[in-house]
């Protein structure tokens, strides 16, 4: 089914960037970037966290003004001064961080942007909606308020909006990071179909596998510069491994070695198997029984969830977004109380304890809503790194803040985890998506945990950081007195780190699968709602 992209002559340049430069306080986000995006070509844009990918997308979509450089659309020079200008030029965008109106329904969000004077035409809109939903095989209800949808579902809406007018160029900033494997495949199909309709598609991902599978051309950014490209010709001839080898080298300089990363790129189940036996037959450390929660309309609450995690065990939670994973995580962390059911850690009932109380017992929670609740974006990086331990003797003496220590601490973590930021005093909001995620991890990294709950641990992380994070999770799993719950919609990730994998379905645990060969298919069947493990 792959058409021949070489057949596309260079005249088909849909959008061309020349020497685009953009600097932010303390960073050069884009440094003389020149790129050509062609009709009928899927162009993957890769690069480590903070490389400048989102900024580049911001520039072509009218959200960010370039300091210098020029842009051509279909050969004609243009100035993209606003998102509406971009839309008029046929440039559609799916942003890295969801940009929807929570209080409006899915349909209303899709209607935004129509001309002022008009009255709303719901009929026509829902027609187009069903049409697109078909095309993308999305299952969001058109009348649900967006605020009630899971992040994954919201991203689906974003994709629909970007495709709404049938664009000339379509930019997708990490569109797959929130999708299930099935969703990713579906999106792939859609992208190919659009590509064949002559749309120029540009997508950002941190998963080289997706890139090598989907892309007709790959460009790599590093520290704001274009450091290399893999042409369609090469992509066709080279083996996946060879491609990955090259891309990794470009992305991380010669520091990055593909071998270390292979496990991340192609999940392998041998190692988990080994650890699986190690933890077998121990008394469970975490026990959740008959967990029920009260959910607001539209969000999926827990409905009798049972879960047992043994010390040193890593329990993966798989399942389509919006099946109660969020409530599960919040219940374990103490952010949400059970209406019925019980939850105990090391034999001690902790259901009545709040977040602080549980944290004292070693409960750690890394949320996937990094801007919504994980951080205080307007505050400095340094503050964000200590907000979970305000008052601790490390940084406070008799209630007085020891700013020097806090800033030293911040500089440390920034160095250790390679967070790309102008300084520890810069406001967190300025950081790139992946770097914000690093802050969330770094905050929980040190000190010893009894129960670690991680939701989408590598959401938005580039390869190396993904590797680190997963290693870290494993290592804590390696340490006997901690139980770990990893919620993720990346099956590969779960298979990489977990001992066992539970599948969530409408607020319950539909089944639990031992992480050994064949786990993948068993999980698939559970997700599809057939059979049990």
């Amino acid at each position: 089914m792959e058409p021949d992209p070489v057949g596309a002559p260079d005249g088909d340049a849909a959008l061309a960037l020349h020497d685009i430069t953009r600097r932010f306080p303390g960073v050069l986000a884009n440094d003389r970037v020149s790129l050509v995006f062609r009709r009928g070509e899927i162009h993957a844009l890769l690069g480590e966290n903070g490389a400048g990918k989102s900024t580049l997308i911001g520039i072509v979509s009218g959200m960010v003004r370039p300091d210098s450089g020029s842009i051509e659309v279909a050969g004609a020079p243009v100035r993209i001064t606003s998102p509406s200008a971009a839309l008029r030029l046929g440039i559609g965008t799916v942003y890295q961080h969801v940009l929807l109106v929570p209080s409006l329904t899915v349909l209303e969000n899709l209607m935004l942007g129509g001309s002022w004077s008009r009255t709303l035409d719901r009929a026509a809109t829902s027609e187009r909606f069903t049409e697109l939903a078909e095309l993308l095989s999305f299952r969001v209800s058109p009348d649900a308020p967006v605020g009630r949808l899971s992040l994954g579902e919201q991203q689906q809406v974003e994709i629909m909006r970007a495709l709404w007018h049938g664009e000339l160029v379509l930019f997708l900033d990490e569109p797959t990071s929130m999708l299930t494997p099935q969703g990713v495949d579906d999106l792939g199909v859609v992208m190919r179909r659009l590509r064949d309709h002559g749309v120029a598609i540009v997508f950002i991902t941190h998963k080289l596998k997706e890139a090598s599978d989907l892309a007709d051309r790959i460009s790599v950014l590093r520290q704001g510069r274009v450091v290399g490209e893999v042409s369609p010709g090469e992509l066709r001839t080279m083996s996946p491994d060879a491609i990955i080898e090259r891309v990794v080298a470009m992305m991380f300089g010669h520091g990055g070695k593909a071998e270390d990363l292979r496990a991340t790129l192609v999940g392998d189940a041998a190692e988990p198997q080994a650890r699986q036996n190690a933890v077998a037959g121990m008394e469970p450390l975490l026990v959740l029984r008959g967990g029920r929660t009260a959910g607001q309309r539209g969000e999926c609450a827990l409905d009798g969830a049972d879960l047992e995690v043994r010390p040193g065990e890593i329990m993966g939670i798989a399942g389509v977004d919006g099946n109660g994973q969020k409530h599960l995580a919040e219940v374990l962390a103490g952010q949400r109380m059970l209406t019925t059911g019980s939850i105990s850690l090391a034999g001690r009932e902790i259901g009545h304890l709040g977040v602080a109380g549980r944290r004292r017992l070693g409960v750690r929670y890394i949320t996937d809503d990094r801007l919504g609740e994980g951080t205080a974006p307007r505050h400095s990086l340094a503050i964000n790194l200590v907000i979970k331990e305000i008052g601790s003797p490390h940084f406070w003496k008799g209630g007085i803040t020891l700013w020097r220590r806090i800033h030293d601490h911040a500089r440390n973590l920034i160095r250790t985890y390679g967070i790309v930021a102008p300084s520890e005093r810069a406001s967190l909001a300025g950081l790139s998506g992946g770097n914000i995620q690093k802050v969330l991890l770094a905050r929980e990294w040190t000190g010893d945990a009894r129960l670690l709950v991680v939701s989408k641990p590598t959401y938005g992380l580039d390869l190396q950081n993904t590797r680190r994070a997963r290693d870290w999770i494993k290592s804590i799993g390696g340490n006997r007195d901690a139980a770990i719950v990893v919620i993720s919609n990346e099956l590969e990730e779960l298979i990489d780190v977990s001992h066992r994998i539970a599948v969530m379905e409408r607020g319950r645990i539909a089944g639990i699968v031992k992480n050994r060969r064949g786990a993948r298919t068993a999980i698939g069947r559970l997700m599809a709602g057939v059979g049990d493990a």
């Binding site: 911001g58 979509s61 959200m63 960010v64 003004r65 606003s82 998102p83 509406s84 971009a86 839309l87 008029r88 965008t93 942003y95 940009l99 929807l100 109106v101 929570p102 209080s103 409006l104 209303e108 969000n109 209607m111 935004l112 942007g113 129509g114 001309s115 002022w116 004077s117 008009r118 009255t119 709303l120 909006r161 974006p377 909001a429 300025g430 950081l431």
Partner: protein
């Protein structure tokens, strides 16, 4: 004694309630538009005063109430223009600018009154009314609702027009998005600045009209500070209404009614300090809040300036 609770008297209470409620209704509807769009227009009181003065001065000079209303609208919009430029375009602090505008408008209109009218205290003639045949003769309420100045009918109509705008038009959708998630509206290709700018002008327009009404139909003359905080009550009404114009209609006449009630109780000789009765509407609101607490909602971006691309 029978004279006291006569039909004429009851009717006049309704009449008074409507008279006192309409400026709150107009201003409240206006404020609701900008609040929906995310601009907390604290300058409303100033816009009403400007409208009141311009409205009276013009109506007096031209001997036409209609001209007065138009002048009120223009004056209100002129003041709101400052707010729009400073707060929407430049993104300055809305509370500071709003209060500064109010203080300034209070001072200027008082000065103008001092210079122009403080010796003669000119007053307007009785306002001409449109009598709706049949309805106007309904006992008690007929006069209050169906034998009034055009502007009062207009205010009622406006309430329902607004409902339609919010529910059925693209404009309504854009306004709500501008207040709830400006970045999303921007991404959808609608300029947040334009949306909010327009909304602030609408507020100025209706606030000015409300003020003009107070000075022409209401008082029949202008005095310094004559709006007496109506602007701030309208702001609260708009917040309480949670985006629904009907609640503003209700609230405005609740306040009007409680004022009329104050008078009524006195006229029939009930002997309590006016302050006690004055507390009624506010106490009522608190009770309402306590009862329906969970439902209270304000646009998340209310009061926050929007700057594209700012993280």
């Amino acid at each position: 004694m029978d004279g006291l609770l006569s039909e004429a008297f009851i009717a006049s209470l309704f009449f008074g309630a409507v008279t006192a409620g309409v400026p709150l209704l107009l201003a409240g509807l206006g404020e609701q538009v900008s609040e929906k769009a995310g601009v907390l227009n604290i300058g409303l009181e100033g816009m009403m005063l400007a409208g009141a003065f311009a409205g009276f001065a013009t109506a007096y000079a031209t001997e036409s109430f209609l001209a007065g209303f138009c002048a009120g609208i223009l004056a209100g919009m002129a003041v709101s223009l400052i707010m729009a430029v400073l707060c929407v375009v430049l993104g300055m602090n809305q509370i500071v600018v709003g209060i500064a505008i109010t203080l300034g408008a209070e001072g200027i209109t008082a000065l103008l009154h001092h210079v122009l009218y403080s010796r003669s205290y000119p007053r307007l003639s009785r306002v001409e009314t449109w009598t709706i045949p049949g309805l106007a003769d309904i006992p008690y309420v007929g006069q209050a609702f169906f034998d009034r100045n055009v502007l009062i009918y207009l205010a009622f109509a406006l309430t329902f027009f607004m409902i339609w705008v919010f529910r059925r038009t693209q404009a309504g959708l854009n306004l709500q998005a501008a207040g709830d998630a400006p970045a999303a509206l921007d991404a959808a290709g609608v300029s947040v600045t334009v949306t909010r700018f327009a909304s602030v002008l609408v507020t100025g327009c209706l606030g000015g009209l409300g003020g003009a009404y107070m000075a022409t139909v209401g008082g029949g003359l202008f005095l310094p500070f004559m709006t007496g905080g109506a602007g701030f009550i309208a702001i609260v009404l708009a917040m309480l209404a949670r985006g629904n114009p009907l609640w503003i209609l209700f609230g405005a006449f609740l306040f009007g009614a409680s004022l009329a009630l104050t008078t009524a109780l006195q006229v029939v000789g009930v002997n309590i300090p006016t302050d006690v009765i004055q507390m009624l509407p506010f106490a009522m609101v608190i009770v309402v809040l306590l009862l329906f607490a969970r439902h209270s909602y304000l646009p998340p971006a209310l009061g926050l300036p929007y700057q594209r691309g700012a993280r």
